[in-house]
């Protein structure tokens, strides 16, 4: 379902509030309370909460464009995580706390943990929210952090599905930026985008961006309880795409792309983090490989087709 009446205002809000300068400032340590308050007051944080519980009652498929926009604008707060967290907590009969919620599904760095008041762990059916005592990574302008001693493995599927949407959103923004740059930047007396060698690279970037978007859509089709299969397909493809897209975008941009003051790095730094978060491509390949070998006599075409059928036997 397309919900322009919800998506467009959200896009306008991000355009006004999460400009590259604003994102850079928050990453550099400026207080993000005003930005967070604007998200909280907008009502979007309860997009996935059921209507009877006071939310907008969107399905994950319907809310997916919001998640992709968060990725495309490199929002420096865990807004996507909070959307999911508030929905899971409400479903479990718990009142979600006010404030940003990060998502911890393993022992690795938790995206935007330093910008979160709370962290979600546990399982989708029985989520646990605790205050977020994160340790900084020590990287430049990094709001990610380590949050020890939490068990959230069962949330990894949903985390992967979120990362897939964030990657897909950033990928399409990077594609637009990189094509525009190739059309503007003159070398040898013509735009570099007229060079076949550059065109071929941009075509690969476009292919990966489209593959990421389609794969991310596979991830959300099962709602807040994605199957292992869908999470694996979504996160494998988007993690592969994240690394390849970052590499090509930087190659085409040249030195300006790796400068701090240019917008590209805000997005490519996130691409690398999202690729690593909640399981990389090899992690999810291993998960899918186990599912596949358990049905070794089935044809591949049947295996991937029948995965798109829910437990009631109806096509999902």
């Amino acid at each position: 379902m397309d919900l322009p009446e919800l998506i467009d205002p959200f896009a306008r809000m991000l355009d006004a509030m999460c400009t590259p300068d604003a994102v850079r400032a928050v990453e550099g340590g400026r207080d993000a309370a005003a930005m967070w308050d604007a998200f909280a007051e907008s009502g979007f944080l309860d997009a996935l909460v059921a209507e009877e519980a006071g939310g907008a009652g969107l399905s994950l498929v319907e809310a997916a464009p919001l998640l992709a926009l968060i990725g495309a604008r490199a929002v420096p707060l865990p807004v996507g995580e909070t959307l999911l967290g508030r929905a899971l907590l409400t479903r479990a009969g718990q009142a979600p706390p006010d404030g940003p919620i990060a998502l911890a599904t393993g022992a690795g760095a938790v995206p935007l943990a330093m910008a979160a008041d709370y962290v979600l762990s546990g399982t989708p059916e029985a989520p646990t929210v605790s205050s977020c005592a994160a340790t900084a990574t020590g990287l430049f302008h990094d709001l990610d952090g380590f949050v020890p001693d939490l068990e959230g493995t069962a949330l990894r599927q949903l985390g992967a599905v979120l990362r897939a949407q964030l990657i897909a959103g950033a990928a399409s923004r990077i594609l637009e930026m990189t094509v525009a740059y190739a059309n503007e930047r003159l070398q040898f007396g013509k735009p570099i985008g007229k060079q076949q060698a550059v065109q071929q690279q941009l075509a690969v970037l476009a292919e990966q961006a489209v593959a990421a978007r389609i794969a991310a859509a596979v991830g959300v089709r099962g709602g807040l309880l994605p199957t292992l299969h869908d999470a694996a397909v979504a996160k494998h493809a988007t993690s592969v795409a994240a690394a390849e897209i970052a590499a090509i975008a930087h190659a085409v941009h040249g030195a300006i792309g790796i400068s701090e003051e240019y917008e590209l790095q805000l997005l490519t730094r996130r691409l690398h983090v999202w690729r690593l978060a909640d399981g990389s491509e090899s992690y999810w390949a291993g998960v899918l490989g186990e599912l596949r070998i358990a049905r070794a006599t089935e044809r591949t075409a049947d295996f991937i087709r029948l995965a798109n059928v829910d437990v009631t036997g109806a096509p999902a």
Partner: protein, 384 residues
């Protein structure tokens, strides 16, 4: 960009075709060794194609008034997926069903439709496509095969085509030829003719490939007298017709499933030898995940065809990713098997692996090279 490509679902009535189709396919492939099945859409069996036609699995997107089934691209997706997944020998009807039929329906005269389309739907009119020439591969607009108008309105055809898939088995060729101007006029002055390959002056020489197969051929035209009604569409509009036709050629599941028979036999091998270590499962999962995303992309392109569009750029983008995957499958599976030199491997699997490894370069040549497709994508991005 390319946001018209979205997750799409096959209609239930098309999914419902699978059991009946599978029974028909299983009967024909039961005795075929896997390395024959791995020929995918290059395996030729005219009797099987006629049986498919009789059962109503050809001419799927052609209207019933022309002997077709009156369904559409989604139905064809299901049928093609079943055929390729099983490794059924589909070459006899492949080109006619995929592109010649739709081309004749769209650009042909009423007389041409009534003559050719029912035969195509029965699997009785076998087509090949005459595009490449010795001097014209990716630079298709440089074709030199020439048709001169004769006083009676017919054409006198001279020239040569090469790498023409299935020419030796085909009844007709849809040839891209120059009908006016010279090679310097590029896209202008090109037309498409339906050439009866039994006409005097046509000679065909099969070309043997590196696997020993002879699926393609050279075709020579020496003063071939072609009747006026052989012209398809408009004289001089051949280029735009070919472009529309190539969207059909590039969009189908045949661009993602060329190596699937090898993939499936390798999975059964892993199961048989009981190999389930982490590295193996990662490779298996990575290939499965890539196949799954490509299937969704191919289905999304098919949905654009259903909507009546000609998704030239989207099809090119999907084909480039798809053929890259198809080529990775034999390379990665070859490495995996030979990384276990003490593991027994049966001869049929070995032959399948080597066949696919050797033929794999063709995946990113046929229907437009990797570089041509990426150029089309770049044009779609506004770079050219």
């Amino acid at each position: 960009m390319f946001e018209t490509l979205v997750l799409s679902r096959l209609p239930a009535e098309d999914e419902a075709l699978r059991p009946r189709l599978r029974a028909l396919i299983d009967e024909s492939v039961a005795a075929m060794p896997l390395d024959r099945r791995a020929r995918s859409w290059q395996g030729f069996d005219a009797a099987f194609s006629r049986a498919l036609g009789q059962a109503g699995f050809l001419g799927l997107s052609l209207p019933e008034e022309y002997g077709g089934v009156g369904r559409g691209p989604f139905t064809r997706f299901v049928v093609v997926e079943e055929l390729l997944s099983a490794g059924a020998p589909v070459a006899a009807h492949w080109i006619a069903d995929r592109q010649s039929g739709p081309l004749i329906l769209r650009f042909g005269t009423e007389q041409q439709r009534q003559f050719y389309l029912p035969r195509i739907s029965r699997g009785e009119a076998l087509f090949c496509i005459g595009m490449s020439e010795p001097g014209s591969g990716s630079d298709l607009a440089s074709v030199r095969t020439r048709a001169e108008r004769r006083p009676d309105g017919g054409w006198l055809l001279n020239g040569q085509k090469i790498w023409t898939t299935n020419a030796a088995h085909s009844d007709y060729m849809i040839a891209l030829v120059r009908t006016s101007g010279s090679a310097a006029d590029r896209q202008r002055g090109l037309s498409q003719l339906i050439v009866d390959l039994k006409l005097p002056g046509v000679s065909i020489r099969p070309i043997v490939d590196l696997t020993g197969d002879a699926h393609f051929a050279e075709v020579f035209f020496s003063d071939v007298e072609v009747p006026a009604e052989a012209l398809i569409g408009e004289e001089g509009r051949g280029w735009s017709q070919v472009t529309a036709e190539l969207a059909f050629e590039r969009s189908g599941p045949e661009r993602i499933y060329s190596s699937v028979v090898l993939l499936d036999v390798w999975v059964r091998h892993l199961d048989a030898v009981g190999r389930k270590d982490a590295a193996t499962l990662r490779l298996l999962g990575a290939l499965t995940a890539r196949q799954a995303v490509l299937r969704e992309m191919s289905l999304a392109v098919t949905a654009r065809l259903v909507a009546g569009e000609s998704p030239v750029v989207e099809a090119s983008l999907t084909k480039d990713l798809g053929t890259g995957f198809e080529q990775d499958v034999p390379r990665l599976i070859g490495d995996d098997l030979a990384a276990h030199p003490d593991e027994p491997i049966d001869a049929e699997l070995y032959r399948t692996l080597l066949y696919v490894s050797l033929i794999a370069p063709s995946f990113s040549l046929r229907g437009g090279t990797r570089e041509i497709l990426r150029g089309i994508v770049a044009r779609g991005l506004g770079l050219r």
